[in-house]
Symmetry: C2
Subunit: 222 residues, 2 copies
């Protein structure tokens, strides 16, 4: 099983608040997410600046495209994003135009599986050629105090991976949550506040990488 990647979600209201922790933690980060809040607050300048600082990193612009897929994805890719996100409620037409734009540039697309997505929809995306999905607990559900990752969440990851998707897992993930995913083919774990708000963002990111390493250690490699 491939070792999952670690993605930092930058969901601050301004760029300095994001760049401070990012600059400290970046050597332990595989994917930098310019979060929806940061995109909406600062605009694509946030993507351009982060691209200028970390030319080698994979950058996701979490623009959550609902329609106008062609225009918004072009804008994000032009700013330096490698990947953009499309909400699961978007019309298949929208996912299709974004995917086409991505393929023409050697970029990629992620579908965010929000409340209400169905396996029928997932089969449609797979049919279109979508390769990445994001599965998460709603931030608002989280805010309501719901508990950690359930067996159902884990089963969902397995089933999506069996359909051929690379699966990103998000929603307040902490290092202590990761062993629970052992044996589960996760492509990316997203960490947000757990790194960005840490006293020592580099140590916090390294703690994630260490537990990912331990959890996904090839059998017999000890």
């Amino acid at each position: 099983m491939e070792r999952p990647n670690l993605q930092i979600a930058l969901d601050t209201f301004d760029l300095p608040t994001a760049l401070g922790p990012l600059q400290k933690a970046h050597q332990h980060i595989d994917v930098i997410e310019v979060g929806t809040i940061l995109c909406l607050s600062v605009g694509m300048e946030a993507v351009r600046i982060i691209r200028s600082l970390y030319p080698e990193k994979t950058i996701l612009a979490d623009v959550r495209i609902a329609e106008a897929g062609s225009i918004i994805s072009k804008m994000a890719y032009d700013a330096g994003a490698d990947w953009v996100s499309v909400v699961s409620g978007a019309a298949p037409d929208t996912a299709e135009v974004v995917l086409k734009e991505a393929r023409s540039r050697g970029k990629d697309v992620q579908i965010e599986l929000s409340d209400g997505w169905t396996w029928d929809m997932a089969r449609k995306w797979a049919g279109l050629g979508i390769q990445q999905v994001i599965t998460h607990r709603s931030r608002d559900a989280e805010a309501k105090g719901e508990l950690s990752w359930s067996q159902q969440d884990i089963d969902t990851v397995h089933k999506l991976a069996e359909m051929g998707f690379k699966v990103t897992v998000t929603g307040g993930v902490k290092p202590a949550d990761i062993p629970r995913f052992g044996g589960t083919p996760v492509y990316i774990f997203i960490a947000g506040r757990a790194i960005v708000k840490a006293d020592d963002p580099a140590a916090a990111a390294k703690a994630f990488q260490d537990v990912i390493e331990q959890t996904y250690l090839p059998q017999g490699a000890v």
Copy 2:
């Protein structure tokens, strides 16, 4: 029947391209929409600048909230927006937190009815106290060359209005489309490129207002 309002959708990639036509047309405009593209491209600075220029106008920040409703709506309201948009695919929890934030500030929320919304969902929003919905043709469906407003579109507006919603109509609306809505309780017509890209944006906006006036003239007022 109330006279519908005219909303200008500013969906440019930069602020000057939006402000030029807006400054010419604003006296004929009831609601200024800072479009999703402009929000994502420039960030909330776009809302702040437009608020500073037109302190008396109603401003919609078309941020299309899918989750993190509390944070994104606060950000938009703080920047000067009167209304924010929530996608129909958002969890009811999300619509609820945005509505709560809106009510605490005397602001409002619009639900964007994207492909896949259902009447069951609409009843849920009505139950939560949501007062505004946006009904439209997908921009991507539009790009695929689908024809103008169908009888089904018009019937949908009637049914939503009967449920108590104030209904915004959008999707490449031109003045010639408006008489078709005669007798239909539309709260807002959105015009985008038809004003923003016009040689004479003021005349283009006035043409909308004139046809709205003629279409919704009280009977016997001639």
